[in-house]
């Protein structure tokens, strides 16, 4: 069935919403990456089976929804009972029968599955009352956890494609651009370029063909916002793209999805097919005469393809080598045609900007960084997960109010934002508001939204080495400063981590970094030295400890540490088979011995010891 008009879309919205609301209880099972890995699929299957067996009177199987990432990955697998919002955490397959019997059959709440607030040890029933959620504001992630992840039916019921309908029928392309400009939204991929201005430039350039490309090459390690959106709410990305296409006058779009996200490809493909079937993508959209097609382009594993010119070459089936961008891609992009390239999260915000108005969006956040921003909050933090907050929220609010502080109550050391191009900020910067400009001034950057929290057991020199090694592997190898310069920078970092660094090293690294920044061809190179530059700025003493005292204060750099078995050892034998180099010997009940000459400091014994008997020196 094709949706021929906006009126028909509105009627469908009402009808579909009515259908959803007719279920007195809906079971939302989180099928986000974290929950899936912890068995969400098995839980879903079990629910269907148990419901069939129990023959509940007022519960239909259709009321079970497989939703996108609900956010609180730390507590997954998550099962939410809507519309009440009852939030069951760490659900296991064996819990399903009880949930069906008690919560679905008799509206009882299973206390043991509820979240316990660590502040007062009290159970919290509804997720909205949990601090992790209470401090958030969701725009890009608005449908995650709320609708069945690939259901067009659910997306329409949630007001989906209304922004597009408004654009196509009540606004001309220019007005759409004006609305986006009014919202003040800046590119969520990290660059922070004004989206409205980008669209306006593209629309103005004379050309027979223009392209709209969605950058789903979420390459920053530690970031999974875009993955969650593409998998959990693919239609919002498509709707944002169609609106953009209408505004700039494009008839063909591409979603570029990185190779590591196969499920995103599947869900986007289904969403495109479903939207095509009802005439929301393709010829004569909503009977307005406007046509736009979307194809998926799969990446093949290259971080550099997140860079616009490399991405466009990759879409064209070529090696992802960037080109010098003295002519911008909005002028000469994909196949040398004017191209709008926006990130997944940016497109996900567009439908809301259109339906609620640009002005409403601009009131959220700060004057120069409007709206909200999604972050993946990971690392040594209590509440890992996916969050969205108004721009201008401080790092401290994010890490402590939402994130619940550092894991196991350890001291905070640094927070890394912006991926390999970003940097590490210390305790003294925690009260900075998170927006595009403030983080850049502090020597890091917002980036696409990965936020990795580190405790005192994280060595920042090792982190710098890690990012440099990542960049050396991901450099395309075209220009000399990046190919040879980052390689040498990494070599120096390795030497320092191995205790072979000299005082000269830091000076040489500083100079080389400055040259790589001005000399490299693309963003990967020009921001490549950031892992070093930001850590040397705030953690110079830690570098000096490695160089002068040959010590790794965090106990991470293997060449500078030794493992010692203390007399807390109970002689449990657990560490002996764990040791891959047979360095540990001992008898049951007696303190074990560790032969330092055989030990390769892999940390396996440390990880398996239940008695904290092994120390790092």
């Amino acid at each position: 069935m094709r949706i021929e008009s906006v009126e028909q879309l509105r009627k469908l919205e009402k009808k579909y919403r009515g259908e959803t609301e007719s279920h007195p209880v809906r079971v939302h099972i989180c099928y986000g990456p974290g929950c899936l890995a912890n068995g969400a699929q098995e839980i879903g299957d079990r629910f269907r089976k148990v419901i069939k067996e129990k023959k509940l009177k007022n519960f239909k199987v259709e009321a079970i929804k497989e939703t996108g990432c609900h956010g609180f990955c730390e507590r997954g697998p998550l099962v939410v009972l809507e519309p009440e919002g009852t939030f069951y955490t760490k659900v296991k397959v064996k819990d399903v029968e009880a949930i069906v019997e008690k919560s679905l059959g008799k509206s009882e709440i299973i206390e043991s599955l509820l979240y316990t607030n660590p502040a007062d040890d009290k159970k919290i029933q509804r997720y909205k009352d949990i601090p992790f959620y209470a401090h958030q504001k969701r725009i890009a992630l608005r449908n995650l956890g709320q609708i069945d992840q690939t259901s067009l039916h659910d997306y329409i019921a949630a007001g989906g494609y209304q922004g597009l309908a408004k654009a196509l029928t009540a606004m001309n392309p220019n007005k759409v651009i004006k609305e986006v400009e009014l919202s003040g939204i800046r590119g969520r991929g990290g660059g922070g370029f004004a989206t409205g201005r980008k669209w306006a430039t593209c629309a103005k350039i004379e050309s027979d063909v223009r392209y709209v490309v969605c950058n789903g090459d979420e390459g920053d390690p530690g970031a999974f916002m875009d993955r969650a959106i593409m998998e959990g709410d693919p239609h919002t990305v498509l709707e944002g793209m169609i609106i953009c296409a209408y505004a700039v006058g494009s008839t063909q779009g591409y979603v570029y999805v990185r190779d590591e996200y196969p499920l995103a490809v599947v869900h986007l493909q289904k969403a495109i097919e479903d939207a095509e079937a009802v005439g929301l993508i393709g010829e004569n959209i909503l009977g307005t005469g406007f046509s736009f097609h979307i194809a998926i382009s799969r990446g093949a594993g290259a971080f550099v393809c997140g860079e616009s010119s490399a991405l466009m070459r990759s879409v064209a089936g070529e090696v992802g080598e960037p080109r010098a961008k003295y002519i911008r891609s909005v002028v000469k992009g994909l196949k040398d045609k004017p191209t709008v390239l926006n990130n997944v999260e940016t497109f996900a915000c567009i439908p809301v900007i259109l339906s609620e108005g640009g002005k409403a969006f601009s009131k959220i956040g700060t004057p120069k960084s409007t709206g909200t921003k999604a972050f993946s909050l990971v690392g040594k933090i209590e509440n890992t997960g996916l969050i969205e907050v108004p721009m201008g929220t401080t790092l401290r609010e994010i890490i402590y109010n939402i994130g619940g502080g550092i894991k196991d109550g350890k001291p905070f050391k640094a927070v890394q934002t912006g991926g390999p191009s970003g940097g590490c900020l210390p305790e003294s910067k925690l009260d900075l508001p998170v927006d595009f400009d403030t983080l850049t001034e502090a020597g890091s950057m917002m980036g696409s939204g990965g936020m990795i929290v580190m405790d005192d057991a994280t060595c920042v020199v090792d982190v710098a080495r890690y990012f440099l090694s990542f960049l050396v592997e991901e450099s395309c190898g075209k220009c000399v400063p990046c190919r040879e310069g980052l390689y040498q920078l990494h070599q120096s970092a390795v030497r320092i981590c191995e205790g072979k660094g000299t005082d000269d090293d830091l000076e040489i690294m500083q100079h080389l970094s400055d040259m790589i920044v001005i000399g490299s061809l693309c963003g990967l190179g020009t921001s490549g030295p950031n892992p070093f530059l930001s850590t040397i700025r705030y953690f110079r003493d830690e570098y000096e400890a490695h160089i002068k005292e040959k010590k790794c204060p965090a106990g991470v750099c293997t060449a500078l540490i030794t493992y010692i078995i203390t007399d807390r050892c109970t002689g449990c034998l657990a560490c002996i088979p764990a040791c891959a180099t047979d360095a540990i010997t001992g008898k049951k009940g007696q303190v074990h011995q560790l032969a330092q000459d055989k030990c390769d400091r892999c940390g396996a014994c440390y990880a398996v010891c239940k008695y904290d008997a092994i120390e790092i020196h």
């Binding site: 093949a300 991926g419 940390g603 398996v608």
Partner: protein, 151 residues
């Protein structure tokens, strides 16, 4: 190694036969044979009208492609930042020692391939190891043996 290449025309037919389809076609071939056999590269060049040198260049540039046969069981260790600071390196070391191969290598008996991969976006359950297609979260070195055996 002998392969049945009769599937290739069907793969080419999924896309328009032009240079733009190169990456997509190579991905499908990789999916089918778990690596890119020489003959398949030559056929791809012919069918998409792309110089063989470009096919080779693309297939060696991107991480997703392998030009050598891979093992029956593919173990991938995520090296994202969250996984790194939660001990992915130690895991890699343990896998390498136990399997006797380095990351990026395949065991001689073609049983195992060990790979480190860029962030797979499952950071909340770091460190992550993916055995074939199954994700394993919060892995520590003591789980390595079990993962190698059972996956």
């Amino acid at each position: 190694m002998n392969h049945d290449f009769s599937k290739l025309p069907e793969i080419f037919d999924r896309y328009s036969r032009n240079p733009e389809s190169l990456i997509a076609v190579l991905q499908d071939i990789q999916q089918e044979y778990h690596y890119l056999p020489c003959e398949a590269l030559q056929e791809t060049a012919k069918n998409l009208s792309v110089p063989l040198s470009k096919v080779f260049s693309v297939s060696t540039f991107y991480n997703a492609f392998s030009l050598t046969p891979r093992g029956k069981k593919i173990i991938r260790i995520c090296k994202g930042t969250a996984c790194h600071i939660r001990g992915a390196y130690q895991l890699q070391h343990q896998f390498e020692t136990m399997l006797g191969i380095k990351a990026g290598e395949t065991s001689k008996d073609l049983k195992y391939t060990l790979e480190v991969v860029n962030c797979v976006g499952a950071c909340a359950m770091a460190p992550v190891v993916i055995v074939d297609e199954k994700y394993h979260g919060s892995v520590d070195v003591s789980n390595v043996k079990r993962l190698i055996k059972r996956g």
